[in-house]
């Protein structure tokens, strides 16, 4: 399923259509959206280098990590960083996003410190200006692929950071403009959904053609004070969880899929949902002094209890004690006083239900008989 997402981004936009856009959502209970982001980034980069994607280059807008972090990441994942400038350009919105360092240099407060001279990084000093951001991204992209029909894709490592600096409408405008640009093949971004109002998440959902969410398996551990019981839940939530994706088709249909993910040494791996986790969820009952579950014998005994008025389905007529016969008469009968069919083998283990009418004048309610489904 994660592969379907990467393939959709790889295949890019059809002529005359907006570029496919992916929103990756996570929350503090399962803060692994960045792992998904780097997974998609790595996959797309492989496709680009192999010439298998519509885009010939990638522009990465770095807000939450430094450009050198991404260079190191690509190196770790086996990419040749020496030639990376041919296919990836990083817009550095991390080092000095608000121009503070420039202000300090101008006022003589600091000497100009080491500037991140990472390969392929272009510095952005005003992340609040959406127009400037848009033109910088497009410029970098054109620098990679040239003018004309060749396309590039765009990755924004943390759109939540942009929302801190600009209004919802201006950020939405930026993302829409990028999607509708002729040279953008596909675009994806990460958002921490619990940092925003619901309408922001909704806006991002509307702009995207795919929404991928990272969720914990078990929500109940969160917000609770830590104790021995929920520690294991927390630990579980800290290395795996659910990966949930929503695809919007062109015909309007929405396809929803869920997978399981596991984090191993910063790398995310996806697999189909296992039933083992459902079993774990069921067995995670609170450990208290009283028993909340039934043993097998108790379950069998419970199944044997004959409920009053319940049809046993074996063709025999139901005998009901209606309280009007004397007890002496009922003792002579072979059938038990309880309603239901006699089960001769289990007389000793069966309970009895004795029903005594309040009065002979009692009539059932008129019109609707609520006991229609019972054999009375």
């Amino acid at each position: 399923m994660a592969e379907s997402i990467c393939r959709a981004l790889r295949d890019g936009a059809l002529e005359g259509e907006h570029a496919p856009a992916l929103t990756i959502n996570d929350c503090i209970a399962s803060p692994f959206g960045f792992n998904v982001f780097t997974h998609v980034l790595t996959q797309l980069s492989s496709y680009i280098l192999a010439g298998k994607s519509q885009s010939r280059g990638l522009v990465l807008v770095a807000l939450s990590r430094s450009p050198s972090f991404y260079v190191d990441l690509l190196k770790q994942r086996g990419f040749d960083v020496a030639s990376s400038q041919k296919w990836i350009q990083i817009l550095d919105c991390y080092t000095d996003p608000l121009g503070w360092k420039d202000r300090l240099v101008e006022s003589g407060n600091i000497a100009h410190l080491y500037h991140e001279a990472s390969s392929g990084a272009s510095l952005c000093k005003n992340v609040k200006d959406m127009d400037k951001l848009f033109s910088s991204i497009i410029e970098l992209g054109k620098g990679l692929v040239g003018q004309g029909k060749v396309r590039f894709c765009v990755a924004i490592d943390l759109v939540s950071e942009i929302f801190r600096h600009a209004s919802i409408s201006s950020v939405a405008g930026l993302l829409s403009n990028l999607r509708s640009n002729d040279q953008v093949s596909s675009i994806f971004w990460l958002s921490h959904s619990d940092l925003h109002e619901e309408r922001v998440t909704a806006v991002l959902g509307y702009i995207s053609s795919m929404v991928a969410s990272v969720e914990p398996f078990n929500q109940s551990a969160n917000g609770q004070r830590c104790n021995r019981e929920n520690l294991s839940l927390l630990e579980r939530n800290y290395c795996k969880g659910k990966f949930h994706a929503r695809f919007k088709r062109r015909n309007g249909r929405v396809r929803v899929m869920t997978e399981e993910f596991r984090i191993e040494q910063s790398v995310i791996n996806f697999s189909p949902l296992s039933s083992e986790d459902e079993m774990i969820n069921r067995s995670l009952l609170p450990k208290v002094q009283f028993s909340l579950q039934l043993s097998e014998k108790e379950q069998i005994d419970r199944a044997k209890v004959v409920l009053p008025f319940e049809h046993q389905g074996n063709g025999k007529p139901i005998e009901i004690y209606d309280g009007r016969r004397s007890l002496a008469d009922s003792k002579n009968e072979a059938a038990p006083v309880a309603a239901g069919v006699l089960q001769t083998n289990e007389n000793s283990s069966k309970g009895e239900i004795i029903y005594l009418r309040d009065s002979d004048d009692e009539r059932p309610d008129s019109d609707e008989d609520p006991d229609d489904d019972l054999d009375i």
């Binding site: 503090i28 503070w100 109002e197 191993e264």
Partner: protein, 256 residues
Amino acid sequence: MNQRPSNLLDEALGLVDDGSKAWPLSGRVVLVEDRVETSAAFVLHHLVKRALSPHSSNVVVFLALSQPFSHYDRLLRKLGCNLAAQSENNRFFFLDMLMSEFPDGDEGGLVALYGKIEKVVSSLLQENKKCITIVVDDLSLMEAAANGSSNYVLDFLHYCHTLTSAFGCTLVALNHEDIYLSMERPALILQLEYLADILIKAEPLATGLATDVHGQLTVLNRGMWDGHGSSRNRICNFHFRVKENGVEYFSPGSMA
């Protein structure tokens, strides 16, 4: 080599006091969260003490919004650390922010504060001091000084974060979790939790008050993003008791 027996907190953070390992918190952000019932100031003191251990050449830059120098000096002396002497040796830089107020509607005060920190860091780098730990006590007071503008505080922290990635500095910050509990969407504290590589939470016990146990610490250590895959996400939980001359850490249920 004399290896001081580490305690549960040191183990959770990977701190070994024999000078053989590089400072494991280099380039990382440590967020300490506490509550009124369980103050986690002792965690800050412990980290300062560890950073200033004689085996290392770490330097501490301490942003104090909560208490004056004399308070920390007295407390660290009980832990066996002389802040005045460390200050003279240029290993401890105390930025007194007690009376700070940042003018309304302008982040200029925080820009200047960042400038001060960067100046100290750059001069230390020129002296070849590799490991610099920046400690902020505490962030809720910084927010108050910035007239409630959490955005400016986050901007300031972002710039401090650039020091961790560019120069391997460690950023340690204390924040009071219960201040944000009544908010519908506690954006500042969530932002900080996303920023943190290590989250240390001090909370009361789930079972309530106790005389021998003062609270519990949960240490959430997110694995490092290194290609060698040497670390993974870890969660540790243990209890603590604050004593006159230090803090005792022990596993739940092992208190004699």
